[in-house]
Amino acid sequence: MARDTAVLVLGGGSTGCGIARDLAMRGLDVTLVERGNLTDGTTGRMHGLLHSGGRYAVSDQASATECIEENEILREIAGHCVEETGGLFVQRPEDSDDYFREKLEGCRECGIPARVLSGSEAREVEPYLADDVKRAIEVPDGAVDPFRLCVANAIDAENHGARVETHAEVIDLLRDGDDIYGVEVRHDSGPGKRTHATPGTTEEITADYVVNATGAWAGQIGAMADLEIEVRPSKGVMTIMNVRQVDTVINRCRPKGDADIVVPHETTAILGTTDEEVSDPDDYPEAGWEVDQMIDTLSELVPILSEARTIRSFWGVRPLYEPPGTGTQDPTDITRDFFLLDHADRDGVSGMSSIVGGKFTTYRAMAEEISDHVCEQLGVNATCATADEPLPGSENIETLEAGMDDFGLRSPVARRSKQRLGSRANEVLETEEPNPVICQCEGVTRAEIRDAISQSGSDLNAVRIRTRASMGNCQGGFCCQNMANELHPTHDEETACEALDELFQERWKGERHALWGEQLSQAMLNYALHATTMNRDRDPASASENVDFAAFDGGRTEGDRVDGPRGAR
């Protein structure tokens, strides 16, 4: 029977997009479906650390080795998504000397370049480190933009012929006896790019093979075909600071614990994290004390954090998995390895594999291994090229940076735009039209916003993850509106308003967890601008009752008016 696609990938996170790109590059016909936006699940809710492997150098050396290998590959193929910040494992007086030594040895055993710095040398690198920091191990940790990287994978998959459908939720697995042959999806606004205010449809997509790459949600997909996938979702909180208190990744050098890392990320720094098992990846408590714990504990390493301004907090859910029977109680003890569950072998149900576990830094290696497995299942003979082929945006970075002019923009804006767009900068920014800045905090220009809209339709959250617009200090208070303006006239007024409301609400969601001090003032200002000046909270256009305009003041100067059009000429 003819199928719609050779391989159907479920899940638009780093793993799913990585698989789609890999298989598409190997020449396979691929379709990817994602419930929300790309990165909506775990990928968009990570702290942005590109692991050197140092973190696992004591407890999990296989993972550590894999991390440093992938770290080096991603610097090559995804240079425009990576900032080579370097990282420090910092020892405080109360932290164990033995563990420090083990960490150093572990790094060396795993091929991770590591160097010991004295306390004062470490403070030379990072002046805000606490005075009593004893010493530190320097490793090649980095910062990575998970949004940009994931989107680049999806774009490249499309460039190689893949179909990528976001806002397409799997509502059923299609199963014929013991064979899974596709899914039924519900399109939020019909197939293709999302458009607000457009009614949805459902679609059956059939495939020769299905890859369940939904991570923490893999169990829910499995349940649609009565398969038990014992994924153990584990939540972690991250708190975003408004500036970079550090320019290097700062790790606490101790065995394990909550609140032990600060990652500089673009204009911000991200504090992380906790590790606590939850039962439902879509519904778990987000408690204020978790935010306080991040700030209080990490202030032991970087004291100014206690006084700093936080702009939002968010929680992510890890897709942890361990083979049945292991019985680990503490989620921090569960391995970060990934597992490929071939349901034919495991459950006697053919046509689908599930991918669980794993971590962002090694998404490409995971995708390679899974793609190998898929090719084997389909009898396709093709090799992986994702370790060598740069992602869109990362081709020719050096020549680009050397020779490009500044597009007539203020230089910090131009520099940041070029950084975000990488080698796509010329294509996007060279426009005859005026190109004003739309998002002042992050220096995002109209051309970038329009480029992102062309990729993602009316979904302003998708525009946000592509451009960083609305992710700075004001959390969209000053720019959401202007982003929505750019949707018009390609999209109509109703669509633009609905998209604006959705983005503004989404920005508020994370901001709620940072509501004190400067950010509470900012929240009040944002509220005032949108409610007072624009009356968006009680917009007559969205009210159920019509306004009786005639009952209101129509102006005093009836008699003074110009009589009729052009009367004064």
Partner: protein
Amino acid sequence: MAIEDDILVIGGGLAGATAALAAADRGAQVRLVSAKQSTLRHASGLIDVLGYAPAGDGPLADPFAALEDLPAGHPYERVGGEAVREALAFFDEIAGDAYEGGHTDANALVPTHGGTVKPTARYPVSTADGLASDDRDALLVGFETLPDFDAPLSAAHLEAAGAPFEARGVTVQFPGIVRDDAKITRYAHLLDRPETVQTDRGETTAREALAAVVDPHLEGESRVGFPAVLGDDHADAVRADLGDRLGVDVFEVPMGPPSLPGMRLEDLLYDALEERGVRVTTGVPVVDYETDADGANADEPARIDHVVVDRNGTEIPHRADQYVLATGGLVGKGVESERERVFEPIFDCHVPHAADRYDWFVDDVFGDQPYARFGLPVDRDLRPLDADDGLEFPNLRGAGAVLGGYDFAAEKSGAGVSLATGYVAGRRAAEEKR
């Protein structure tokens, strides 16, 4: 030696300026100190009194009718409806020709830059021809380099709101703006001075060039709206000149920050302060205070004897008989917060709030937000109350956004509360000075 006045007003926004003017009007010697630029530059320049009842009913055509039903503790309830009317009359006198709306009790509906209409009681004269309750067709003009106002989208939104006229929007290039990210004031100054600009027909004034760009787009509309960048010091002349050239009435659509109508209102107030002999010092935060140890009975709260003002690192005592606190709300930093508490930073006056900061907000961004009501509770004389409803200081009054118990953003009552409470606080302070 301390600087001495009858009345010291702390805060230079609408509430502080009104309090100072009202007190000076009663013959008091008044000084106004403010820590920084007022938040007026964030404000639209519209004078809202009450657009929606606290329960959400509205838009209200008659704000005064609804004043009687406000809950206890609301600043309007504290001062009473008559005081609101008096304060508006006082404002009308100060504003003179610069503002309109005083001819009727009814609210006006004004289109703002998001395309929505909002109810307001007084509006700058520059906005007068833009009222949504006026049924003349309108052309809205936006500028390619000004992303805050999308004229075609705003026009479409006005239609969605049911406005009783046809609105069309066009986007044009602003003559003489060469940088894509020019500041709002650059637009205003080009028109204000007016500067000459290069066009394809040669050198001409910015006003003439702008009219020439807009003219071909007119399709019989008798009024044309621009984003609020039409001049600064000579806004009336700019508008009149453009109107003459186009043969239409020209109006401004209020914008977000930095807002020229807000800055013009600030200028108007500061000119009035100067006229009335109020001494004004800006850029000087009040950092401390001392109470009067002598005269206070044990069972009475202490009076404020003097405050300490920080002028470039030098601490200067300022003594007055009466004090007005008009330092603003969360935005103006008259109310501040930490992870564990919300407080008033100068006198540490009581600010009611939930102990758990997760009870300071609700999940719907436009829901009934507790944080929006943060501020000082006051008695009917606007004197701040402590947690037991006792007076914090007998000679301190609060005015404007520093007061609690109302959500100015939801109600569209910010300017009205500032005027009414500023007016009452200033008057009472003047009446009570020894």
